[in-house]
Symmetry: C2
Subunit: 246 residues, 2 copies
Amino acid sequence: MNRALKHDGTMPAAVTVDLVIFTVRAAALHVLLIERGMPPFEGELALPGGYVRAGEDLDQAALRELAEETGINGHELHLEQLRTFGAPERDPRGRTFTVAYLALGPDLPTPVAGTDAATACWVPVDVALSSELAFDHLIILKEGLDRARAKLEYTTVAAAFCRQPFTIADLRRVYEVIWGFPLDPSNFRRKVTKAAHFVEPTGESRTPEIGRPAALYRRGSAELLFPPMPRSADGEHEVQPSAATG
Amino acid sequence: MNRALKHDGTMPAAVTVDLVIFTVRAAALHVLLIERGMPPFEGELALPGGYVRAGEDLDQAALRELAEETGINGHELHLEQLRTFGAPERDPRGRTFTVAYLALGPDLPTPVAGTDAATACWVPVDVALSSELAFDHLIILKEGLDRARAKLEYTTVAAAFCRQPFTIADLRRVYEVIWGFPLDPSNFRRKVTKAAHFVEPTGESRTPEIGRPAALYRRGSAELLFPPMPRSADGEHEVQPSAATG
DNA sequence: CGAATAGTGTCTTTTAGACAATATCGG
DNA sequence: CCGATATTGTCTAAAAGACACTATTCG
């Protein structure tokens, strides 16, 4: 920790990216965690991530780690910066800043073994939230969850969780799983189909194993959702406990 | 740029914080800029900021720079992380990551000379946006403006621009200046006073030079604004051009 | 009183919330 | 037909937008 301070105030430090990767599978929100293979925190669960390399931009580093850990082409996912964490003692090896990213994607096949990813697996977030994670990764996970929940309200990112084409019910289940309470199917449909460029009908439909066929849609061009999707004024009917912000 | 990559992937890098400090004065949004006193970009305008020190957390560093540059106790301001910028060539001196912060405060007295702040001054944002700024600071400024505009919609941060106690009209003028178009005084009042814990009446009032006295309010406890303050569906009546996101 | 700013009331349109009713599939 | 899911329609309540009107100060 006590590295020398250069005359100009510069302090050598390491910079990493860590990824909160969410997906919806089996009617639950899951996060990708790895089991650390080396100290510190060897054997503990952690968010995937790694050092930013010399010629690399932050987004590039995040995309590279994504590919290495999950074998996934990150360009198909929603990826955004969450926040940077830099508490002096957060890494016992020395001063390390980590730029946390939030990645959202459709039900990703069980993470194929990439470089370090042999031990990567999808964990339901409610399980992950009551686990011990390495470093300050539990805080990061909580912030990622809060951010994802908030972004569903006023953006169209929910569609990032759906493989295209998708049905309105698919999209609704994303909201229900992430917010933790049911939404009225009728009102939800009206809302989503009337918002400009949230979803575009393909004209096709898909017949489920049982029940009436559902019309299929693709993502529209809109990034922002207007008017926003209201999350009930008083969050009284929450079903799963919320994560507090750090 | 071509510093050696250590065996473990660690790359020594410098980490700075840069501040986008907004205030409302003279019916216009202003940002604090400094004139750089040393290379690189000597003599050019830049956002205030500096290196994160050895034992320091990121928020601490931001608060310290705030105090040094403006002589202001940052605990009275709204302060939040914006995003971290780390393009490999963004600083000609070598690999440098900067954690950008957004600070919002009431009309701050003209920045008193602190440490480096002799050359600090408030610049109207529309002027700053059409200036050349050092490093990637123009991008950072644009993102700060976008963030501030967006946050007025669904949070109560607008009150951070008002010295307490304030009138409803004071608060409305914050929205008008930052969004760039007028709001209906009547509907604005109804909205703000009915939203839970946005503002709390003090019971006092303030008589302007001319006109009816206005009731005074303080900030309430709410951080989020529900329902949100709607920014017109189609942003047709914009008055000043918006900044594109980088 | 008139100018100027603050604050209230009201009417219409839009959106949200609850929920009944109908449609279309596989057995 | 029945069970299950999708989709449409309807009614009510809440919120937004437009704007007329009243209130209180100073000079």
